[in-house]
């Protein structure tokens, strides 16, 4: 077994919070500020891990399980995830369903933990999160179906090298655009949700994790960073399908792609206003429609 897959997982575990730092720095530059250090997310995680957690007496084990299961789902998906030409650690036919499922279970427990606090405020956030993900998840599955159909491979690790071999067509580009919309929605980035807001009526993801503290909050932040890496790797793999065969080179290209994706996300966040809440479903459905279009293009006789 080549060392590439293992190296990719280690790289993702190490570098995922760095992407958040890049996004924040890009946003700061657009706003005319100097911005926090690029490594600020690591400092935050270290600080949170050193603290103790406070648990409300109304919460049960579900509340404590939420962050752990969320992080475990993200790490499990990471094991399946290829980055461009680098294969995932595990791969079998239909593994993209497990990837979507693992992310889904992680989110389910975050939502349950929010409901477990009994706060009406967190319940509202949970409701919104579920509304968004109920639309984003079919979009993700449709994109993966389109990519599977286009590349003729049912494994994640087989799809992206096949894209690299095939000629550039409109279908992968549409799939990448749809994936980018899913990424913005799932990672609660700006047109859908604002990671910085702490105003009661506008929070979606943030409100769900208000009651978590200390290591639990660190797990949630870290899990969010890994989720950004996972969805980002899918986008990068679709846009930049480079499979040279040399693991180090593929990893370097993939990492460069991820950093440019983080910069692009920062640019999108700085240049777009947040959508009105009732327009968000339309935005995500537009992403799903792009995915369906990609699927239709691969189905059409050529």
């Amino acid at each position: 077994m080549s060392p590439g897959p293992l190296l990719h997982v280690l790289l993702a575990l190490m570098a995922a919070p760095f992407l958040l730092g890049v996004i924040n720095r890009t946003k700061a530059l657009f706003a005319g500020r100097r911005g926090a250090p690029l490594l600020q997310p690591y400092f935050d995680l270290a600080r949170l891990l050193g603290k103790g957690a406070v648990y409300s007496r109304t919460t049960t084990w579900v509340f404590r399980a939420g962050p752990v299961v969320g992080l475990a789902g993200a790490i499990l998906s990471l094991g399946l995830l290829p980055l461009g030409g680098v294969r995932g650690m595990f791969s079998f036919e239909g593994d993209f369903l497990l990837l979507a499922g693992a992310l889904g279970v992680g989110r389910l427990f975050t939502v349950l933990a929010a409901l477990d606090t009994g706060s009406s405020f967190e319940g509202m956030g949970a409701s919104r999160e579920v509304q968004i993900s109920a639309l984003a998840e079919p979009a993700l599955l449709l994109v993966l179906a389109a990519l599977a159909r286009h590349s003729g491979s049912l494994t994640l690790s087989g799809m992206f090298p096949a894209l690299a071999r095939g000629q550039l067509g409109p279908a992968p580009l549409l799939a990448a655009a749809a994936l980018a919309i899913v990424l913005l929605a799932e990672c609660s980035r700006i047109p859908v949700d604002d990671p910085n807001t702490h105003l009661e009526l506008t929070m979606i993801h943030e409100v769900m994790v208000l009651d978590h503290s200390g290591p639990d909050l660190a797990f949630i932040l870290y899990g969010g960073a890994l989720k950004l890496w996972i969805l980002g790797a899918l986008v990068v793999g679709t846009v930049l399908p480079v499979a040279t065969g040399v693991a180090a080179l593929d990893l370097a290209v993939g990492l460069a792609g991820m950093v440019s994706l983080a910069v692009a996300t920062g640019v999108v966040e700085s240049s777009m206003a947040r959508l009105r809440l009732d327009r968000i479903p339309q935005f995500i459905v537009a992403g799903a429609v792009l995915a369906v279009l990609a699927l239709v293009l691969t189905l059409a006789p050529s």
């Binding site: 000629q167 409109p170 549409l174 339309q282 537009a286 429609v289 279009l293 239709v296 059409a300 006789p301």
Partner: protein, 228 residues
């Protein structure tokens, strides 16, 4: 040659979806303008290698009319009538988008069953042409603003024209120009009509025209209760 045609056709589909999902009149007008530009480019892309002065002139005429002149005229109409900027659809945006995809699937099914000439520039040509025409019709019936009906008509015409560009080897030059002239006059007349409807009724909502009582006096909007 074929990849370019494919790319342009996919962009045409995207402009269709933009018009189905757009909620502002201006963005829909821009969608139609972009589609006009794409159709002009498709005239060139479909005949790469056989460009003659006619093809180039036709492409330039289409781009100038559909891509520049019509959006300008219609934007002016929106500004002059000071109508509300929202499209106000009868069918919501999300069902419209889903209908757009359904029309594309219908187009694929339809062109699979038709004995189309095999020398077509792209396998996507038939589906995209059919679906564009159908989406044009859908825009005409599903939107409230009279302006959207002009846009729907333009999209419908684009669909029919695409079919001609991709499947017919040689269309008489005179006919193409005649159709373009008709379009220009049509859009001009409809622009003036919209302006006069607005002058008379203070709005350009077509559903309220249907229920307006006979001989409604100038400037007085239809009674609220008369709406369907």
């Amino acid at each position: 040659m074929s990849p370019w045609v494919d790319f342009l056709l996919v962009l045409v589909v995207l402009t269709n979806l933009r018009m189905l999902g757009g909620n502002r009149l201006i963005s829909c007008i821009q969608g139609a303008g972009t589609q006009g530009l794409l159709v002009g480019l498709l005239v060139l892309a479909a005949r790469v290698g056989h460009w003659d002065s006619r093809t180039v002139l036709l492409a330039v005429a289409i781009t100038a009319l559909k891509g520049v002149a019509f959006p300008w005229l219609l934007t002016r109409a929106v500004r002059e009538t000071r109508s509300r900027r929202e499209v106000e659809p009868f069918v919501g945006y999300i069902p419209s988008l889903i209908a757009g995809i359904a029309f594309l699937l219908l187009g694929i099914w339809l062109s699979g069953r038709l004995p189309l000439p095999t020398h077509a520039a792209s396998a996507l040509g038939g589906p995209v042409a059919f679906s564009t025409a159908l989406i044009g019709l859908f825009l005409v019936v599903s939107r409230r603003k009279a302006l959207m009906q002009v846009l729907g008509y333009l999209v419908l015409e684009n669909g029919i024209f695409l079919f001609g560009v991709l499947f017919v080897r040689e269309t008489p030059w005179l006919m193409e120009l005649g159709i373009l002239l008709d379009l220009l006059v049509g859009v001009l007349v409809m622009g003036i009509t919209i302006f006069h409807i607005n002058e008379t009724f203070d709005h350009i909502d077509t559903d309220r025209l249907a229920s307006a009582p006979e001989g409604e006096i100038r400037g007085e909007p239809a009674a609220e209760g008369a709406h369907p």
